[in-house]
């Protein structure tokens, strides 16, 4: 389960941010998880609850937003969002395309004091 190792780096990153910014508590973090990343949000939540966390993160809420990938259809040139791997072009139904993004795992914001 790679979500566990991702959560460890998430906790380390947040701890560093807390120290650098002189924060005592992080109450919420907003993650942007690409729809085409190999990360399952529920597994990530489970892992985040399970990993050892410092006091500053003890009651931190995890908010997850799914970020679609961007595609350009080889058939008709249309740009469209890809939420699932096998989504086809909504214009012509073509399944050949260039794909960009959708694989990010970003800490977008945090709410802290």
């Amino acid at each position: 389960m790679h979500e566990l190792s991702l959560c460890r780096s998430l906790v380390t990153t947040l701890e560093q941010e807390a120290v650098t910014r002189g924060l005592t508590r992080i109450v919420r973090i907003d993650l942007g998880i690409g729809c085409l990343s190999c990360v399952e949000p529920e597994a990530l939540r489970f892992a985040f609850d399970a990993v050892a966390k410092p006091q500053s993160l003890a009651r931190c809420e995890l908010a997850i937003r799914r970020v679609p990938g961007q595609a350009r259809c080889h058939g008709c040139g249309r740009h469209y969002e890809v939420h699932r791997w096998l989504d086809v072009c909504p214009g012509c139904g073509g399944d050949s395309r260039d794909l960009e993004g959708g694989d990010e795992i970003m800490i977008e914001q945090m709410e802290a004091c």
Partner: protein
């Protein structure tokens, strides 16, 4: 705890929202870039071999290393959750190999590869084969600094594997269909498998081989040779 009666109520606190926009894979990206720079300086061509467990990665390596012997230096990093078994098989071919035991992790990451590099002798101009943990999901997210990612699919698996596990094919540089000597006995269509993979990665090149009969091996060795010229 509250200051009045000792209940669990948290006193209200003034919080603020901070924009971070930090990529959680940053540390791995940086380490992968460091590995890549090292490979470049050493003129070492690194390959990341990924597949499900049992697709024939180690067997492919054994036969490949025998062919390369005396012609080109090679190194191997073996990733498995447990045991030294695969590294022992590789060392039996006379090739230096390091086993990385990933413990609870289901993939290799760039820092595990970096750690293993310190245990390998230099091999300028050579090939470094990194055999990832047998898993079609987790290794997809982790750049190791490799020159090329090779995805193996054996004919004893379904030819719909690319549709079921698309993520690993997105950054693939080669689809290698293995165990082709078994094709008469299984319902696997190589053309269909490739068509599925190309829905994820258009123009993905593909090769077929059998490590048992050695059929198709020359195509694979040619591909390895050609990789260097393209990389420089």
């Amino acid at each position: 705890m509250c200051g009045h009666c000792g209940c669990d109520t948290q006193p209200p606190v003034q919080t603020r929202v901070i924009d971070l926009h930090r990529d959680l894979m940053d540390a791995n990206h940086r380490q992968a870039a460091h590995n890549r720079a090292y490979f470049h300086r050493q003129r070492l061509t690194a390959l990341n071999l990924v597949s499900s467990p049992g697709a024939g990665k180690t067997t492919l390596l054994e036969i490949t290393l025998q062919q390369l012997q005396g012609r080109r230096p090679a190194l191997v990093i073996e990733g498995d959750q447990q045991t030294e078994l695969d590294a022992a098989r590789i060392r039996a071919t006379g090739t230096p190999a390091v086993q990385v035991q990933t413990g609870q992790a289901c993939h290799l990451d760039a820092s595990m590869v970096h750690g293993a590099l310190h245990e390998l002798p230099p091999a300028p101009g050579g090939l470094l084969f990194i055999e990832n943990v047998g898993n079609l999901i987790c290794p997809a997210q982790f750049d190791l600094g490799e020159r090329a990612r090779v995805v193996l699919v054996s004919v004893t698996e379904g030819d719909d594997k690319p549709l079921k596990y698309p993520g690993i094919f997105r950054d693939a540089d080669l689809l290698l269909i293995t165990k082709t000597d078994l094709l008469p006995h299984v319902n696997f269509d190589p053309a269909r498998c490739l068509a599925h993979a190309r829905r994820i990665r258009p123009q993905l090149p593909a090769l077929q081989l059998s490590a048992t009969s050695a059929e198709g091996l020359d195509g694979w060795l040619d591909w390895l040779r050609q990789l260097d010229t393209e990389g420089d």
